[in-house]
Amino acid sequence: MADIRVQKEDFSIEDEWGRCRERMAGRGGALVAFTGLVRDLQDDELMGLYLEHYPGMTEKSIETIVENASKRWSLLDVVVIHRVGKLLARDQIVLVLVGSAHRGDAFAACEFIMDLLKTEAVFWKKEIGRRSSRWIESTSDDYSRKVSWSVEG
C-alpha cells in the first residue's frame, strides 16, 4: 500500500496524484498532499541544502512511520518521496500523499507522517554556503510537534 522512495530526482505531483487516484479507484473520497519546498535563503552566503541518507535504513525509518500512521488511521494509499543530494531554493524536498475514504483520516495521517519525518527519518542536512558549510539539527518545534502525536521514543 505504501510507496516509499528516496531519490535525487525531482518528482511530479501530477503523476503521483493520478496514480494514487487510480489505485484507490472508487474507494477513495479524500486525497491530501504535502510538499516541502526549499525557501529562499535569507543569508546571501547560502547557496542551498545538502541532504544525506543511509540507503536502506532511511527507507526503513520511513516505512516504520507509515506503518504507525496506518495503525492509527484508515488509509487506502500512501506515497512518500524524499529527495537527497544538493537542493536549491524553491526545489521540492518531500512529498507525502495520503488517500483515504474520509478526509479526517487523510489530513491527520499526512500531517503525522510529515511531523515524524522531521524527527524520525534518517537524514542529515547541511547548509551549503559560498564560503563554508554547516550541518544543521532538528528544531525544538519539530520535537514538540512529534510529542503532540503522543509518539514514544
Binding site: G36, E52, Y54, G56, M57, K60, I62, H82, I93, V94, M114, L117, K118, T119, E120, A121, V122, F123, W124, K125, K126, W135, I136, E137, S138, D142
Partner: protein, 84 residues
C-alpha cells in the same frame, strides 16, 4: 570475521573516511570494535565516535548500549539525525 563500518554526515567528514572493512576476532563487540578502529584510524578519530550525540546502528537497526558482532555485520556511526 569480516565487518563493515560506515560513517555518515559530519562524522564522515570529520573523520575523513566513509567506510572501512575490518577483520575482527570472533566474539568481538561494538566496544572492542572501537579499540580496533583506534589502532587503524588513530585515537583522535575514535574520540569523535565517542561523542554524546553519536548514534550507532548495527545492520541498520539503532543500537542502545553495546552488541556482539557477527560475520558480515554492518556497523554505522552517525550524528543525531535531522529528519526529512
Amino acid at each position: 570475521m569480516k565487518v563493515k563500518v560506515v560513517f555518515f554526515a559530519s562524522l564522515r567528514e570529520d573523520m575523513g573516511i566513509e567506510e572501512i572493512f575490518l577483520q575482527l576476532p570472533e566474539g568481538c563487540t561494538t566496544d572492542s570494535l572501537l579499540e580496533v578502529l583506534s589502532a587503524r584510524l588513530g585515537e583522535k578519530a575514535v574520540s569523535l565516535l565517542c561523542g554524546d550525540s553519536v548514534r550507532i546502528a548495527v545492520n541498520q537497526e539503532m543500537l542502545d548500549g553495546r552488541a556482539h558482532l557477527f560475520e558480515n555485520d554492518e556497523v554505522a556511526y552517525f550524528p543525531r539525525i535531522t529528519g526529512g
